[in-house]
């Protein structure tokens, strides 16, 4: 059937005839721009997926070479990490304890402070305070981590921990590094959690107040549970950043890979090891070189697991509004 309608056909109920103006439903222009743009968007998506795949592959091959020389059993259970010594041991546990301590301390700082800031900003602060506070918070997230590292070595360890609190820490400690790491990730927690809480519909808050609830209970029992998936996401992201952060721990925690038993001890994290060792003179194809990738892969897998587990947890606990 042609797109122009000219014949009126049999007279229809109501007696209205279609107007005889020619009608076309074809697009007026071919919209090449849109096609080019679509092509670019698909390319962008493809590039980001391909680079991720590429990174994984570039980790996997040297790591496989590493595990031909060192058994996975030794790697995962030995408590000694001395790849650079004459007596070589390849147990990754010391590096994992280093990462675990700094990350746990960082979260112990960032979760209460970050969520506290988020609750204050979304529920208590006047719009004016919020307008000032939020950009400052986001600015804080942009401070280079080497500056934080300096802060850990020069100030938090010697001045605050040792000087003010009389805690027996050396120049390097997982405590100082973890505390500073925690400060660094506060904005991540606060900013994302605040977004999640602000997105909770006003009607739910009104319902709560209308029942005679006070602000704190409204926050804790209505807003917080309703925002839990966003809040959890903020913590997971902060956790991933803490696990992956390098500069602060490389500078603040020390460079001795050892099983860390107390926060005042020094220790090396997985990232700290990679940063230190990658600056050395490892020759491609040697075990030394492959060691880096084995640790890198471990880090990658741990981060992946954290993300998978948290997605599961969030889906179980979330309240959908």
């Amino acid at each position: 059937m042609s797109t122009t309608m000219q014949s009126a056909g049999p007279s229809r109920q109501g007696g209205l005839r279609p107007s005889s103006a020619p009608v076309t439903l074809r697009s007026a222009n071919p919209r090449y721009g849109e096609k080019v743009l679509l092509g670019f968007l698909m390319l962008a998506a493809a590039v980001s997926i391909l680079t991720t795949v590429g990174i994984v592959l570039s980790l996997i091959f040297p790591a496989i070479a590493f595990f031909r020389e060192v058994s996975i059993g030794e790697f995962l259970t030995s408590t000694s990490w001395t790849p650079r010594f004459a007596d070589k041991n390849y147990g990754v546990l010391p590096l994992i304890t280093g990462t675990a301590w700094t990350t746990a301390i960082a979260l112990a700082v960032a979760i209460p402070l970050g969520l506290g800031a988020a609750i204050y900003l979304s529920e208590y602060a006047t719009p004016r305070v919020r307008k000032i506070f939020k950009p400052v918070l986001e600015l804080l997230a942009g401070v280079p981590s080497v500056v934080y590292g300096l802060f850990a070595v020069a100030f938090v360890g010697p001045v605050i921990l040792k000087g003010w609190f009389g805690i027996g820490v050396g120049t390097y400690s997982v405590l100082a590094a973890g505390l500073v790491l925690g400060i660094m990730i506060i904005p991540t927690v606060a900013s994302l959690a605040e977004d999640a809480m602000t997105a909770v519909p006003r009607s739910l808050r009104e319902a709560s107040y209308g029942l005679g609830s006070n602000r704190m209970r409204t926050v804790l029992r209505v807003v917080f549970p309703a925002a839990i998936s966003g809040i959890a996401a903020s913590i997971v992201l902060a956790l991933s950043r803490a696990v992956g952060e390098t500069m602060i721990v490389a500078m603040g925690a020390g460079s001795q890979a050892r099983m860390v038993a107390a926060p005042t001890e020094e220790g090396q994290t997985m990232t700290g090891f990679i940063a230190a060792a990658a600056l050395g003179d490892s020759v491609q194809g040697t075990t030394d070189y492959n060691t880096l990738f084995a640790v890198g892969l471990t880090l990658f897998v741990i981060t992946l697991l954290i993300n998978l587990v948290s997605i599961k947890l969030v889906n179980r606990f979330r309240e959908v509004y």
Partner: protein, 285 residues
């Protein structure tokens, strides 16, 4: 037709053994005296004076934007939550100025509950929705289960949900959700329930159920309802307040005010103000 509906409803209440016709002047439980309400510098409502009668349903009607919701929300200090609102004049509850210095708005809202236009259950189970108020207000309850059941029965919802109390409230229909919101409100045992167009998001059948429910609830509670549906006001309300908004002198802002407040039968059969008559006969608004 409206007055016929009203008298039928009233006969039903006679059968159930209650005194029917509201007295000429209400036995006021809530009194507004020259109440004006501002959003910032904008005066939304000017000098409203009216009495809310005990165990009566009072309807607030009028064209949209005339300040019905604003007045309703001022009755339990809900508008405190909007920055910049100000109330002048006096609103007293049993003779106590609810905007008085040592009055806790939370205590006011516990006694004067609110049901909103759009059903807004919490993203929790049906049970937890009803138990929320008693829990957060620290009510002493012997058995939460009994209280939840009583509240759900009170809101004529028990039969429909008794087998799925642990399921999410979001699985209920709109009308059921609104009755759940009513159950949630009566669970804290308020004296007054404010309802802001509680049926506007519901279909006619769900609306009729809520209207029946209101007539039952008024035996125990005092109800103030905002509605844009005049038949609804005629069907359920003992007294009706007609508001309108007119441009104030000097600027173009429309300020709402109370035109006429009287027994519903009088408002719908023999209003004293011609604007009321125009509105209810559909000539305006």
């Amino acid at each position: 037709m409206d007055s016929a509906t009203i008298s039928m409803r009233q006969m039903e209440t006679v059968d159930s053994g209650r005194t029917i016709s509201p007295t000429e002047t209400p036995r006021a439980v809530l009194t507004c005296d020259d109440v004006s309400i501002y959003y910032g510098s904008f005066r939304a409502v000017n000098e409203v004076s009216m009495d809310i009668g005990l165990h009566e349903i009072t309807a607030l009607i009028g064209p949209s934007g005339c300040g019905k919701s604003t007045v309703l929300r001022s009755l339990n200090r809900m508008n405190d939550l909007i920055p910049g609102t100000k109330v002048t004049g006096t609103i007293s509850y049993h003779g106590i100025d609810i905007y008085g210095k040592d009055v806790d708005p939370i205590e006011v809202r516990r006694r004067i509950g609110m049901v909103f236009q759009k059903p807004n259950p919490f993203p929790k189970s049906i049970y937890d929705n009803v138990a929320y108020g008693p829990r957060v207000t620290g009510m002493k309850v012997d058995s939460m289960d009994d209280l939840v059941e009583k509240a759900l029965r009170g809101a004529a919802l028990w039969g429909e949900v008794k087998d799925k109390l642990k399921q999410s409230a979001y699985g209920l229909s709109g009308g059921q959700q609104q009755r759940l919101c009513i159950a949630r409100t009566i669970a804290v045992q308020p004296e007054i329930i404010l309802m802001d167009e509680p049926c506007s998001a519901l279909d006619p059948i769900a609306t009729a159920r809520i209207e029946d429910l209101m007539l039952e609830l008024k035996e125990k509670y005092t109800i103030v309802i905002v509605t844009h549906n005049m038949q609804q006001a005629a069907r359920v309300a003992d007294r009706t307040a007609f508001f309108t908004a007119e441009a104030a002198e000097g600027n173009g802002d429309r300020t709402g005010h109370l035109v006429e407040f009287d027994l519903t039968t009088k408002i719908f059969s023999n209003p004293s103000d011609s604007r009321t008559e125009d509105y209810i006969s559909g000539r305006f608004g």
